[in-house]
């Protein structure tokens, strides 16, 4: 089977960096060196020869790089296949290890599916889950977390940067609530955070943190769960996990399986590069985002989703009134690679549950676009995005007969 092809001339402008990022050329080179090396192919767990030691040292170097980027200790980094596995390890690991102490978990409705789906499965297995509802800006009040904690709560799982709307939760305050309550570990999905905003794992008082390689210009297929070695956690000791995968005892027995040296080397370098990105890059992205929003707002009937102040500049989520979701995506697809707020490709369309949780109606949730800006994004890309949407949104409103009223909800029912 052949993959769809895309010529350089027809390639759409890539504005989906929140979905994944291109691998940094320096990262790709480092990975290729490992793959092509005659001395670095060893099993990192092999301690009986130099081949294993060389691979092992590369893995440990990457561990230090990742740890340094998030303010953790190298011994706290557990390699996984990605943030999804890290989230699963955190949720199932805590739930099963502490199942005799309590079977209650607190999370939010706007979490990634990689948190919500394990929570649903735990519910099916008898755990109780409290799903917090954020305000209309997507923000949680730390007091909501405090109010949800019970004597049998073993885990709070709240993401740092939301993957759809870019909102940044006040993790420090939530961690303080968990510590004060004294019964629950805190897991943070930080897949969208690295390179976009500062992270201080130790300083925040977080117990578990999920990380992803490919969101940070690293390779797909590798991630990490940072597991705190603090011994003064809320249960009076360090957090413990029941492993998901058995068979070899790698990664302190938390994640068995031969480590993928080249993937890990790539993630390590990607995190080091992300941590070294200067503040001028963040300022540049913020300027591009402001320019994009100003351009889209001038179309009229464009509603920004999520807090404009408590968010990373790399994400902008906008709903367009009076436009049907699938048509909007189809109209922009030849020109822009963006994500839609809807899985609207069939009669079984499912509007974004994140936007629905923020109180957006079904139609506005479907007619949203997520713009993910990144290192490759240029002023010309932003100009293209504004031009395409300034042409297509009014065109679709004209076809829909909504051009004058704009707001779908304001129109009389046909």
């Amino acid at each position: 089977m052949s993959a769809p092809s895309m010529t350089a001339a027809s390639a759409a402008v890539y504005l989906d960096h929140a979905s994944t990022t291109p691998v940094d050329a320096r990262v790709a080179l480092a990975m290729a060196e490992v793959l092509n090396s005659e001395t670095e192919f060893g099993n990192p767990a092999s301690v009986s020869h130099d081949y294993g030691d060389i691979a092992g040292s590369l893995v440990e170097q990457a561990r230090r790089q990742v740890a340094a980027a998030v303010g953790a200790g190298p011994g706290e980094v557990v390699w996984t296949s990605g943030a999804t596995e890290a989230n699963n390890l955190a949720l199932f690991g805590v739930a099963h290890y502490y199942r005799e102490r309590g079977r209650h978990i607190v999370t939010a409705r706007t979490e990634h599916k990689a948190v919500l789906d394990p929570c649903r499965e735990l519910e099916r297995r008898g755990w109780q889950i409290t799903y917090l509802i954020p305000d209309r800006d997507g923000l949680l009040d730390p007091n909501q977390v405090a109010a949800a904690l019970r004597t049998d709560t073993v885990l709070v799982s709240i993401m740092h940067v939301n993957n759809e709307i870019g909102v940044v939760q006040n993790i420090g305050a939530i961690a303080a609530m968990c510590a004060r309550h004294g019964s629950a570990w805190l897991h943070v999905d930080a897949a969208q955070s690295v390179g976009k905003c500062p992270i201080d794992f130790a300083g925040l008082g977080v117990d578990l943190m999920s990380l992803s390689g490919h969101k940070v210009y690293g390779p797909k297929g590798v991630g990490a769960l940072v597991v705190s070695e603090r011994k003064d956690g809320p249960r009076g000791g360090r957090v413990q996990l029941a492993p998901l995968v058995y068979g070899g005892g790698q990664e302190r027995g938390l994640r068995a399986g031969t480590l993928a040296t080249h993937q890990i080397v790539g993630m390590g370098l990607a995190f080091e590069l992300a941590a070294s990105i200067s503040s001028t890059e963040t300022v540049r992205i913020a300027r591009l985002q402001r320019r994009l929003w100003q351009g889209l707002a001038s179309i009229g009937g464009a509603l920004r989703n999520g807090s404009a102040t408590h968010s990373v500049p790399h994400l902008l989520n906008v709903s367009f009134e009076g436009v049907e979701g699938e048509s909007l995506l189809a109209a922009v697809r030849p020109h822009l690679a963006v994500s839609t707020g809807s899985a609207c490709n069939s009669a079984l369309a499912e509007p974004s549950y994140v936007l629905r949780a923020l109180g957006r109606g079904e139609r506005l949730s479907e007619s949203s676009l997520r713009f993910g800006l990144g290192r490759t994004t240029t002023d010309a890309d932003i100009d293209t995005a504004i031009a395409v949407l300034s042409r297509e949104v009014p065109r679709l409103r004209n076809i829909a007969g909504t051009q004058s009223a704009r707001a779908t909800s304001a129109l009389p029912a046909p």
Binding site: E324, S327, A330, A347, A349, I399, T402, A413
Partner: protein, 123 residues
Amino acid sequence: MNYNEVTRRYFESPANVGELSGPGVFRGAAGKREEGTWVQFDLQCVSGTLQAARFLAFACPHTIAVSAWLAEQSVGKTVTRTLPESVQELRDRFDVPVDKMGRLLIIEDAWLAAAVPAIDYRG
């Protein structure tokens, strides 16, 4: 979702978008914008022959393309109690996924709501 060539063409450049008014104009609509699909046809008929047609659609690309095609292809033809082309033929022409068949029925309802009263109109 991928669309075939005719769907993309009529979605990207639909003719006959809009509304008609005046004598001999019959309007039919079906669906609801609030539910994601709404289609309206304005058909202008004289002695059972379609003189002009316009459409509006708050809908997916398939629905817009089919509505545009109907409004374009039917002018000059006799108005009947059926769609100018059957739902199954439209489905094949536009490669409409089976889970969108309901949207073709909305188009049919909107078309017939305008067409049936027009059949006997003699101006």
